[in-house]
Symmetry: C2
Subunit: 192 residues, 2 copies
DNA sequence: GGCAATCCATACTCTTCCGTATGGTCAACG
DNA sequence: CGTTGACCATACGGAAGAGTATGGATTGCC
């Protein structure tokens, strides 16, 4: 809690700036990533920043790289350990649905696809996830062309739900309504 | 073609500014909506702008309102005239899929849900479209709870596809691949 | 043609934010 | 305990863009 609210008067490292940048991106988007604002939030001034980073773009690049590295195998790694291929996709859906917090950054980056720096990162991440989905659908019994299109459809639904739910707050679902929606997704998208 | 490239030396109205703003939003996002940039594009200076509008926010508000008014009943109005309810949804899918041009503004606004001005507009538009989808699914034979969730799923897939395809350029589909994807959507999401 | 309203250009101010220059402070270590 | 290097504050320069002030140009209308 007091990582950013109470600076605790310890000195900062480049990692601190990158984590603070990711948090700020998740809350206010890439456009709000200003060094002076970040410095105020961290309780220091710009002088600190320009010791750790050469430029603002360097910070964004480092933060995106960190996110791409560490935020990846949180979900996919655990799912791959499930032996039964037919149980993988429902479990993936349920886990992703109930751990929406790590996806805040992804939702924010989705709204920043104007910036040339985030496009390659998002392209790589989306590509990997889509390939994961495609093979999962193939292992679940779909023919290759069907599996590919189903993966596209599933991933589009995921991305769209992030946009609509997070930043637009629509549809406004309570807990049980949300669970019902997830189960509806499972029965609709995953072959029996 | 020469609406913006050749100003034809005619004087401008507020409508001209709003249309130019929408075009600029569709191409470069809401963040790129700067009055001096727009003025350069229209072949005039800021002096013209601040005669027609009190502030930059006023222009954005007017442009959004115009978009919400005129860009709505292009698709939905035609679909409602289809008598057979079971043929409405496939036809809706195909038309939306092949007229993606009017959805560029929607895709751009989707990436600008940080701005407080666009949130209510997008909320209204998305709400209306989702209600349209829900009744269409009910008329296609789904029970009310199923129809609601199916509408959410469909609309999320639509929104996600806009994001992934337009601004990220992924998945990169040619014409027949795209048609196959649309047909896959139809068979997967619409009850037989 | 002349007048008034409409439309636009020019020339400012003000704010925000990136980046630089430079000196100060604190901790570690010999 | 003094020196060194890591870390930070302060002050500045410069670019970009919003908004204002004011006068000039152009159009419609009598």
């Amino acid at each position: 809690m007091n990582v950013s609210s109470k600076p605790e008067r310890t000195r900062l490292s480049a990692e601190d700036w990158e984590l603070a940048a990711l948090q700020l991106i998740a809350e206010h988007g890439v456009g709000a990533l200003a060094v002076e604002a970040l410095a105020r939030q961290l309780g220091v001034t710009k002088g600190s920043f320009y010791w750790h980073f050469r430029t603002r773009e360097a910070l964004l690049h480092a933060a995106l790289e960190r996110w791409e590295q560490y935020g990846e195998r949180e979900v996919l790694g655990q799912i791959e350990q499930i032996s039964d291929p037919r149980k993988r996709l429902p479990e993936l859906f349920r886990r992703v649905a109930h751990e929406l917090q790590p996806h805040r950054v992804y939702a924010a980056l989705l709204k920043a696809l104007d910036h040339p720096q985030v496009v390659p990162v998002m392209a790589r991440v989306s590509q990997r996830r889509m390939e994961f989905l495609t093979t999962a659908y193939r292992e679940a019994g779909l023919a290759p062309p069907q599996a590919l299109n189903r993966a596209r459809l599933t991933y589009a639904a995921y991305v769209g739900f992030l946009q609509l739910n997070f930043t637009l707050g629509l549809p406004r679902l309570n807990h049980e309504e949300f669970d019902a929606y997830v189960e509806h997704m499972i029965t609709t998208l995953i072959p029996a």
